[in-house]
Point group: C3
């Protein structure tokens, strides 16, 4: 899980998908081309940036590896020009978004554990890597973060991060178990969407 070619490709797919979600939100708010690129960049790389700041990885991946930034910007620009067609691809985007959530949570948790963060902290950092970009996207576009309002989303990330931490503690964090963890998060997230599961809201 330390940067093989297939992992890089998968990681960049996650970046592209999250960038597309940010760019779509920015287009809906009538931001200009730069604003769309900026919100896409933050949505794709904000979670990882927070993770790298917290574990003191210098420079953060978002600035240290140009492929991440370029992927995020290209995906955002594509959404800017293609967004009418993309609306019809909404189901695909939700699928890819769920895949990105699983992947980012796995890599975030692993990087935190490798940096010596204790178990509970690593779970939190993994979860924040998965959901941080979406929170930043919503703050930039003037919304209360959607991840805090409805749907089973962050809970999936937290559960997945706990599973990865457990695997790592048991020295079972090989490629296959980790891939299965990411796939399980993606599956639960899609099931939650399909079944309209949502977390409880306090009675007034």
């Amino acid at each position: 899980m330390t940067g093989g070619y297939s992992l890089l490709v998968a990681d960049l797919i996650g970046v592209a998908v999250f960038a597309a979600s940010g760019a779509g939100a920015a287009v809906a708010k009538r931001l200009d081309l730069f604003g769309v690129g900026f919100v896409g960049f933050v949505a794709a790389l904000g979670g990882g940036l927070l993770r790298d700041l917290v574990i003191d990885a210098v420079p953060p991946l978002a600035f240290g590896d140009w492929r991440y930034a370029v992927t995020a910007v290209c995906a955002s620009v594509a959404v800017f020009y293609l967004h009418p067609q993309l609306n019809r691809l909404r189901r695909t985007v939700l699928l890819l978004d769920a895949a990105g959530l699983g992947l980012f949570t796995v890599t975030g948790t692993l990087k935190a554990l490798e940096a010596g963060v204790p178990a509970v902290g690593a779970c939190l950092i993994g979860m924040l890597t998965g959901i941080g970009g979406g929170v930043a996207r919503d703050l930039l576009t003037g919304e209360i973060p959607v991840v805090l309002q409805r749907d089973i989303y962050a809970v999936v990330a937290l559960g997945g991060a706990a599973a990865v931490t457990l695997l790592s503690r048991l020295e079972l964090a090989g490629p296959l178990p980790l891939a299965l963890s990411a796939a399980a998060m993606t599956g639960v997230r899609l099931l939650a969407l399909y079944r309209r599961w949502s977390a409880p809201v306090a009675v007034p």
Copy 2:
């Protein structure tokens, strides 16, 4: 002031109180259970997280010591389920919030000084440790931070941070003077609430 048992207990009380304030705000915005926990976590640990990023304490306490995160989450969940009763406890919460402000400002200022930050910077970091969580809470729930709008709140933190810095420079920063500083901040904050003191607003 370097992590004795009584300090830890006091610190965790501060965490619980600030988490409760964040969770209360999140419940009022109709966020779900996870959202309430998340806003509570950020309100309780956001100020300290910013402090640790700035002084390069790795990993930040919010992720490095599980007792902080667990305390924040438990307090938030308690507010989620008990909030109708808690409304009646509003006076108690304001008292505890004032106590948390004093304590967090003292520890934030000391940690910055110990990390070699110069005096003016340490005062600012101490103040941000005290008020940062509340600012993050308000941003997440879509409000202009209340600390910027009314009440004597941040000024109390800034004055207290200056007092702690002065004590430290005079080599008088023993447990008793520090406890008195925290208590003085708490007292001034409560007096400001009781007397409805507020900072001036510019004439239009």
Copy 3:
């Protein structure tokens, strides 16, 4: 470019100008005196703080050199008391703001390159140093960041950061070329204001 006296003076002018822009926005939102100072501080020093966190400069300049914080606060307080007169100075403020944008982008890019960040990342960090304070100012006052919505602003910073990176790679980053880069950014920004250039918005 490593801290000569004239650079420090120019840097502090940039801090004062950005602080004034933040304080003006805070006055318009009816924040109190402290809130005005806080928003001014964040607008002036937020971009540099993010830069220093990312390149791991400890403590960040905003906390490590008291002249920065004091300049930001004094400029904010001046705006608080003088803002009716300052409205008439709007053209001057826009001119100074454009100058600050050029200067901050140049120093941010150079610091990132000196810290070993690769070229693409250094461009992004330079741009964020120039625009970060304005983004934070707008988030704190409950607005969608204006830099994302209209005007040629961030694009100027990005282009200037790319020019500085190129100069640095060609070992031509002496005082004169860097000053010309900053001046060019300022000029393009002013021209964009005067001619009302703006970036495209997606068709609905």
